[in-house]
Amino acid sequence: MTTDTPTSTEVDSGNTTPGSPRRRRSGSVTGTGRLASALVSPTLLVLAVVVMYPIIAALYQSLFVSGQRLDAQGFVVEGRQFVGLGTYADILFGPAAERFWNAFWNTTFFTAVTVTLEAVLGMAMALVMHQAFRGRGLVRASVLVPWAIPTAVSALLWRWIFAPDGVANAILDQQVLWSSQAIASKIAVITAEVWKTAPFVGLLVLAGLQVISREVHEAATVDGAGAWRRFWHITLPLVKPALVVAVLFRMLDALRMFDLPFILIGQQKDSVETLSMLAFSEATNVHYGPAAAYATLLFAYVALIAFVFVKLLGADVIGEARSQVPKNRGARFRRGKGSAR
């Protein structure tokens, strides 16, 4: 929905038709179309049930409130009232606004900080791994370990590390109350999140690095380009497509962050409450209308970020560039239409 541009659709479909230059009969087009819909529909069917249905249910639910009144005997009046966009108004400007915007800024802050750190650390790790010849297997395997540990378990692990008499305080020789001080709890969440995902970003960037031919680097070295200049002018532009896509996908994940702060710090803590946690907390307190509205707003926010990212940075999410120049791998980098340069 966000990654599609009209021009690219035409270019793309023209380009990837197998044998389109020598299309023989119109029958093969119908055949292809039929095959395509047969192949695509199972996925769409599954996603319709497990994602589209809940999305629509949530949208619809967010227009109602229920359980607000008691009858004479003290029972909750059943059924629900249509309030239109009233719930959204409450969330954005009304009584729920304070909690919503707090969660909104937490979410944004976590996303910005963790993704930046992950990109920088991941880049550094990728450069090291690219250079390393000794211990290559070891480093690659260990890089995958943080990512392979279930989030629910790694959140417990970090909770244990950040316990009042845990090892983090012993190393720092301080009595930091990680679970209750605002800044400290944010740092705890960020540390745990970055630990888990930075190595993986590193692997993705490494994948991008490895397609840069050695000759390009050597040529630059001969031309007298210093290491920094080589990094800035050759390496970075060439890994940019891989990095941008990795960062985008990390952002989409980070914006929906839930288990980690939930288990590591706890629920209903202002300093770490994210939008996902807010939606969850409302749902457990049987405010399904507001819960659905939070989920919808978060969905819109994620989609907006993805859209902006694709438009501004030309994140090649649907792989148009690569499908157009499949053989010339060194030239995979394509400037997006709205590229900043």
Binding site: T16, P18, V29, W160, P199, L275
Partner: protein
């Protein structure tokens, strides 16, 4: 290079030395960064419960008491491991079967609205996962799916499938177009071309996708917690959440860490064995 003066040569040598040692330092740094917290988890798991709060780098007395507690009959942990295996493998297989065919169509076939479909599939992965639970729970209750494997597997497809489709689409696009053309010249239909030519060649990409999907499905928690309330149907991540200490107020870090080690070790071994393949798949195709 051959006309380097002595001065330059010395600089080059020094640089060479630095070049030799920096990566090793870097490697050591990365390994430490990635493994130190995991190390702490293992060490905690091997302490005696009474020493749980010790901060010594190695257990004073090694003990498997925590591991024994994990497998106590009441916890149903063995059964939970089996359930996780069933749910994660079935999710992986379904994702691969459905995802591969869709990705092939999106990458290699011409039809209208192709990019729209791909974008739509990617967009579905943007909806906050926890908000899927209540509507699906209601649906599954109505059709009597509570406490079944499919009630955990089907929702898991919501995050596995978009990822797999995207990953595989990128992978298929990288393969030379001439393959099917050659096959079709030889009289294959597009379907045959797909089965006989493309699938075998796409094996590395599918393998990577399979591992990624398996790990994601294995690590899933909130769906499994909500869809199942019988102990003999619960998965490991849920089982871990139900560990308790001596009383309801005690957090059993030791047992939880031991269980965490047990849950993670198969994945780490798998990753160790297949790391070359995982990286090859990442390099040649999609990302993440």
């Amino acid at each position: 290079m051959t006309t380097a003066t002595g001065d330059e040569r010395r600089t080059t040598r020094r640089r060479f030395e630095a070049k030799k040692w920096l990566p090793i330092l870097g490697v050591a740094g990365i390994v430490l960064y990635c493994l130190a917290p995991f190390y702490w988890m293992v060490v905690t798991a091997f302490r005696r419960p009474a020493d749980q709060y010790d901060l010594s780098p190695l257990p004073r007395t090694w003990s498997v008491e925590n591991f024994r507690a994990v497998f106590e009959p009441g916890t149903g942990f063995g059964r939970a491991l089996l359930n996780s295996l069933i749910v994660a493998s079935t999710t992986t297989i379904l994702t691969l079967v459905i995802g591969t065919s869709t990705a092939y169509a999106l990458a290699r076939l011409a039809f209208r609205g192709k990019n729209l479909v791909l974008s739509l599939i990617i967009a579905t992965s943007m909806f906050p996962g926890i908000s899927l639970i209540v509507p699906l729970l209601r649906l599954f209750t109505d059709i009597g799916w509570i406490n079944t494997y499919q009630a955990m597997i089907l929702p898991s497809l919501s995050f596995a499938l978009p990822l797999a489709v995207w990953n595989l689409t990128m992978f298929f696009r990288q393969m030379p177009q001439e393959l099917e053309q050659a096959a079709m010249v030889d009289g294959c239909t597009p379907g045959q071309a797909f089965r006989r030519i493309i699938v075998p060649l796409a094996a590395p990409g599918m393998f990577t996708t399979a591992i990624l999907t398996f790990i994601l499905a294995w690590n899933e928690f909130i769906i499994a917690l909500s869809m199942v309330n019988e102990q003999n149907m619960q998965t490991v991540t849920v089982a871990i959440s139900k560990f308790t200490g001596a009383t309801q107020y005690d957090q059993p870090f030791g047992t939880q860490m031991a269980a965490g080690v047990i849950v993670t070790i198969p994945l780490v071994i798998g990753v160790l064995i297949f790391q070359r393949r995982i990286i090859a798949g990442l390099t040649s195709g999609g990302l993440k």
